[in-house]
Structure formats: structure tokens, C-alpha cells
Symmetry: C2
Subunit: 379 residues, 2 copies
């Protein structure tokens, strides 16, 4: 199933996966070896193996294919230059296994994190390893054109510096937007952004395919591909409070790609007014506690919201991050964990793991996977 819940899956599932599902056209040319899902799966296993590499037989076992199929697939991938042989394992009484490795230099992508006050652009290779990075101040309030100008300038400078021709640019930014069309919605406090077709404008200005998504989704995607787990939620506590959901290994964006509105979950009926117009939102209560210097209470409120989410979706793992969490990660992990553990004891069943992550880094590095993930069948 595609990551966005598109109504009728037009082409049959076993037709060649179309790379244009999330990107503009013009990318699939020259990468014909990714035609089948199995090739993408093998490539993903090679990515996961990293610099250590992985043998054909291990690939076969993990992909559920015969060794001969893997030989054929990897032969095509080697012909494309995406994969290379890299030494041998020690023998176990017979011919030693040849180790295969993803060729990181075979491709690259750019990740762009647009935050309210700063821009970060990073160029990475096919394995996601950073090649170069640039930061610049940004003013959302200055309007769309100014932000686009800055973004184009920084990305161009980055590409000039690295000399690579990336597959595309993944853009992560806060606030509601339509992932499928790349159009922004009402960003709270910045009404002039409503309806701005960021994806198409950037794509035209840069001459590259562009994918935009919420920062929380980008972070969740990156964490999923870094191997977090099959099913988890990433809670981002920054200037706002949002969630990125990974369900069944894929980012869940919902019918209108608006999923993840965790912060405006009501946990206090008729509670204090929130900026969104609701009363008793998790975000209002949590951030008010932070502002009042009561982080323990903030963590408890966050935990109650997380417990609601865990009960509803039954995820394996809850990750917390963002500027607020970074101030005292242990405190938030303990606070959320306490609420989840208490509920798990009552409901029965194993407790859900809670961990803190560097939120800004997750967003920054996650943005590039908006472009690269489809190559590995994780689009």
C-alpha cells in the first residue's frame, strides 16, 4: 500500500513501481533496474547493510528469494553501477561469500528543512551520508517569495559546492500542507502562505523534482529507514506539538495527507483555550506547563496524549524529540514512559518502549528520504 491513502490503486500492484508516485517525472530514466519490487527490496537490504556489505545468500534469505534470483538482480544492479563487490567473507569450509555493497556515489539527494527562523540544506549520497550542509536564517513572516528565494539560493550554492546532480529535493516544514500536491495550507500565524504551491514553485525554480512534507513526517520517515521499528510514533515538541506516524513500515499520512495532528488532541474537556480555538488541547496544556517551569507536568500531559495514541494504534515504540525535549530528554522519556507503563499494567501486554531522539537532526536527515525512499521501495 502506498504511503498516502490514495483511493483506487490504479495500476496493478505488481506492475513496475512507478518512481513518479512521489516525484515529478523524468527521474525513472536510467534506473531501469529498479523495475520490480524485488529489486527495490534487495537494494534496501544493501542500504541497511551499510559499509559492511552483505552476501548474496544473506540477501536471498532476507528477501525471501532464491539465491539465483538474487544473483540476477544484483547483476543488473551492478551493471547500473548502484552495487559493487567489496571483498569476501571468511570461508566456512567452502568458497567464501562475496560481499556486495551499495555504491553511495551512484546518486545523491538534497534535504531542505524550512523552520520558522532558520533554513538547513543538506546534500547526501545514496546511502544518506551527508556530503555538505548549509544553514541560513529565514523569516517565514517575510512571505513565500522571499523564503523561496533563500531556499533556491542555498540549494544552488550547496550543489555548486558538491558538484553533484541530485535526484531531487525533499523539503520538510512545519504546519499543515498537502503532501500529494505540495500545496501549503493555513500556517498558523502566516495566513499569506495559505494555498501556496511550494512544490511546483520550487521544482520550476530549481529544475529538479521536489517533494514536500510536514517536518514530523520527514523525521518519522528518516527514523523508519534508519531502522526504528515497524510501527512507531514520533512526537515532536517544539514551538508546536505534532506527530509522525509509521504504521506497518510506512508513513501514515491519511486520506488528505493531514494525519499527525497530535497536538490539538483534547485531553481536558472545557479546559484552557488553545490557539487553535479548541479547549484543553495537549499542546496548550503541555506548552503551558513548560512555560510555567513545570516540565514534569508537561511530560505527564505528553504521556497521556501518547497513551491515547498507543491505545488507538498499538504501536511498538514512541520516540520523542524537538527543542523542548532536548532541554531534558531523560525527564520526558521517564514522564511519558511512566504513563504508558501504568496503562500497560492495567490493560495487560508488554510495555511500549519510549526513547528520545535529536528532533532537528531527524527532520534534517529525514527530508532527503522523501526523495530517496522510493528507490528502495519505501516510498
Amino acid at each position: 500500500m502506498s504511503s498516502t491513502d490514495s483511493p483506487p490503486p490504479g495500476p496493478s500492484p505488481d506492475l513496475p513501481p512507478d518512481l513518479s508516485s512521489g516525484l515529478s517525472s523524468g527521474l525513472s530514466s536510467g534506473l531501469s533496474s529498479l523495475r520490480t519490487q524485488n529489486a527495490a527490496r534487495v537494494l534496501d537490504l544493501l542500504r541497511t547493510a551499510g559499509a559492511e556489505g552483505i552476501s548474496r545468500l544473506e540477501l536471498a534469505e532476507r528477501a525471501g528469494l532464491t539465491p539465483q534470483a538474487v544473483s540476477k538482480i544484483t547483476a543488473r544492479l551492478r551493471a547500473e553501477g548502484l552495487v559493487a563487490e567489496a571483498g569476501r567473507r571468511a570461508s566456512t569450509g567452502g568458497k567464501p561469500r562475496t560481499v556486495l555493497r551499495l555504491v553511495p556515489g551512484a546518486g545523491s539527494a538534497v534535504g531542505l528543512h524550512l523552520d520558522r527562523d532558520a533554513l538547513t540544506a543538506v546534500a547526501v549520497d545514496l546511502a544518506g551520508a551527508p556530503l555538505a550542509e548549509r544553514r541560513a536564517p529565514l523569516a517565514f513572516a517575510a512571505g513565500a517569495e522571499a523564503v523561496v528565494d533563500t531556499a533556491v539560493r542555498e540549494v544552488s550554492a550547496l550543489l555548486d559546492a558538491t558538484g553533484v546532480m541530485p535526484f531531487g529535493v525533499g523539503v520538510a516544514l512545519p504546519g499543515p500542507l498537502d503532501h500529494a500536491t505540495g500545496v501549503l495550507h493555513r500556517v498558523t500565524g502566516f495566513p499569506e502562505w495559505d494555498g501556496f504551491p511550494l512544490r511546483d514553485v520550487l521544482a520550476r525554480r530549481l529544475g529538479l523534482p521536489v517533494v514536500v512534507d510536514k517536518d514530523t513526517n520527514a523525521a518519522a520517515l528518516g527514523l523508519a529507514l534508519a531502522g526504528a521499528t515497524w510501527s512507531f510514533a514520533y512526537l515532536h515538541v517544539g514551538t508546536g506539538l505534532g506527530a509522525g506516524l509509521v504504521l506497518g513500515g510506512e508513513v501514515h499520512r491519511g486520506a488528505r495527507t493531514g494525519a499527525g495532528e497530535f497536538g490539538h488532541q483534547v485531553v481536558q474537556l472545557d479546559g484552557p483555550l488553545c490557539g487553535c480555538g479548541n479547549r484543553g488541547c495537549v499542546e496548550a496544556l503541555c506548552l503551558a506547563a513548560v512555560a510555567a517551569g513545570a516540565p514534569v507536568e508537561a511530560a505527564r500531559v505528553l504521556g497521556e496524549g501518547a497513551a491515547n495514541l498507543v491505545g488507538l494504534l498499538d504501536v511498538d515504540l514512541v520516540l520523542v524529540g524537538g527543542r523542548t525535549v532536548s532541554a531534558d530528554p531523560e525527564l520526558y522519556v521517564r514522564g511519558v514512559d511512566a504513563v504508558l507503563a501504568a496503562r500497560a499494567r492495567r490493560v495487560g501486554g508488554p510495555p511500549v518502549e519510549v526513547r528520545a531522539v535529536d528532533g532537528d537532526r531527524a527532520v534534517r536527515e529525514g527530508a532527503v528520504w522523501l526523495v530517496l525512499a522510493p528507490l528502495f521501495g519505501r516510498g
Copy 2:
């Protein structure tokens, strides 16, 4: 993606879909024509078309296949007896289209709804149309063996009456359970059920494949296959309050198949104590309002919970049902809709549709799809 979030998808996605994913083995024999996903998709389109039937060219268009592929697939399905020709369309200037139709009598399944005080067993044909039905009183408190005895007796009587040999038995029942293993968890108030391997016990006693699931999931599955939408939530308000989630066309059961715990979502921090040990659960507040004769307040609380869910998951549609809702469906639809509409106005974007459904009927008829859905690639 499979409906349960199983960690690493062992076999490759384009291997023949294994019917045993949800059922015991022994079912796939004799149905070799369902090997590929495309055949299952074509069969599902034929099912959706119902008695009116559908032409090969329409199938090709909707399945994203060439007409010739559909000809081959339907030829195999006709050879298996699952599909038959059924008349012709009016000509549009050439050879008239031959209409194909699912043969309902080509198979059957049994749905079993175990409620706290009553049992309903229904036998249906391949299209889901009821063939026969039986009801019997039931006492969960009498223990597992007595309930199993009753279930076996009723299902046997049903099969004797209809004379069919069903593919299997789908069992829907309240309370937490493990869908993957078919083992019950702590049913609130009935501790002796904890750990009871209902699926395997029933399968052995009946000599048939058995699938068990929560009543809310069964209802959601049935509603999804009846064409509700691609992404919706079914909220069941009965003796408890639970949800069945359909995300991207598939029932979301979560990592440990425990998803859908909607009722014990906290919406009133430090609120009144709930039977689960939490404070301020939607279920406690909602049902207390019902008991106090304040259904408007109950609907508002339900709506707040639904709004939290919609924000988090971005579903298209919210369906409400169950005994409490049946008492005054319009009131609950209006109440939930009011809360969702208010939030949609603030957030922007189109409002979410709210509808009432006959909950008991949805569960009863949904149970059979636990068995039949895999045949149509919707497992």
C-alpha cells in the same frame, strides 16, 4: 501491506499471496486460480459489481490491466467455476460486451458473533449474501468450554441446515484478543478467559479454519468491503466503546493486533475513575452521560474523541453504531458531526462525513469477511 503489521515481510511481495496468512492451511487447495494478486483484484471487482456484473473491458480499466490479461484471468476463474458469463450489454456500434458475474454459490463462509449475552451464526455465499442464520442465548460468565460447546452446536446445526461446506468460520467478539494467534486476553469481568486459545480450540472442534477478531474490527472490515470508503473509523458504542480502523483500505490492527482502544482514550485529565483504572476515559464519560439520561452530552463527548481520532489519522468518514447509538442514531450523528465540523472550520479543509450504521448487523455480516476477504485480496 498485510493488515497486521508483521515486522519483516519474509517472502517477496510478488510471490503468490498465501491464503494461509489469516487462515489455517488446507484452504488454498482447489483455488489455484487465486494465485496472483491481479486475479484477486479482478475477483474483488466482480464481487463489487454484484448481480449486475461487469464487462471484461471495464475490469481491465479498473484493474489497470490490458483487456487480454483480463481475458486470461477470467478464463481461469471461469474454469474454476468462480465466475460465469451473464448476458450482454447493449451494443455501442460494435460487438456488445459480455457481462461477467461472480458465481455466489461457488463458495460459502460462516460468521459467528459472540456477544456477552447472545450468539449469532450466519452462513453466507461467496458474495456475502446470507443463506441462513441462527441465534442462541449465551453466557460469557459460564466459561470458555460452555461457550465453545454452544458455538460448535449452533455452527453445526447451521451447516446441517444449509448443506454447504464453508471455507471457514470468522468469529467476532468483544474484548482484547490477539488476532494473529487467536488467543483471548483479559476480558474485563471474565478473567477466566485470559489466554484461552479460542481459534485453535474452535478449529479443532469444527474441523474448519477459524479466524477470530474483535467485533469492531469485523464490523470495520465488512463496512470496508461494502464500499464505505478508503479510510474511515467505525465507533461502536455498546456495553463498551471501541473503534475499528480502516486505513488505506485495510483494517489497521497494530503491532500486537490491539489497535482500536478508542474508549479508554483520556479526554478529561484527572476526571472520574473508569473501570479500566484510568481517569477521564471517553467511555466512562460517554456512558455515564447515557446513564444519566443526557444523550446530547454523550454525543458531544463521543464527538470530541472522534475529533481527536480524525485529527490524528485524517480519515474520510466516521461511522457510529452499536446499541446506544441505535436508540437515537440521528442525535449521535448530529452531535458528533457538530464537533467535527467545528474543528474542520478551525483547521480548514473539507468536513468529515458522519453516518450511523446498524452496528450489530455490521458485526454479524463483517465476521464472514474475516474468512472471505483474503480470497479477494483484501485480507
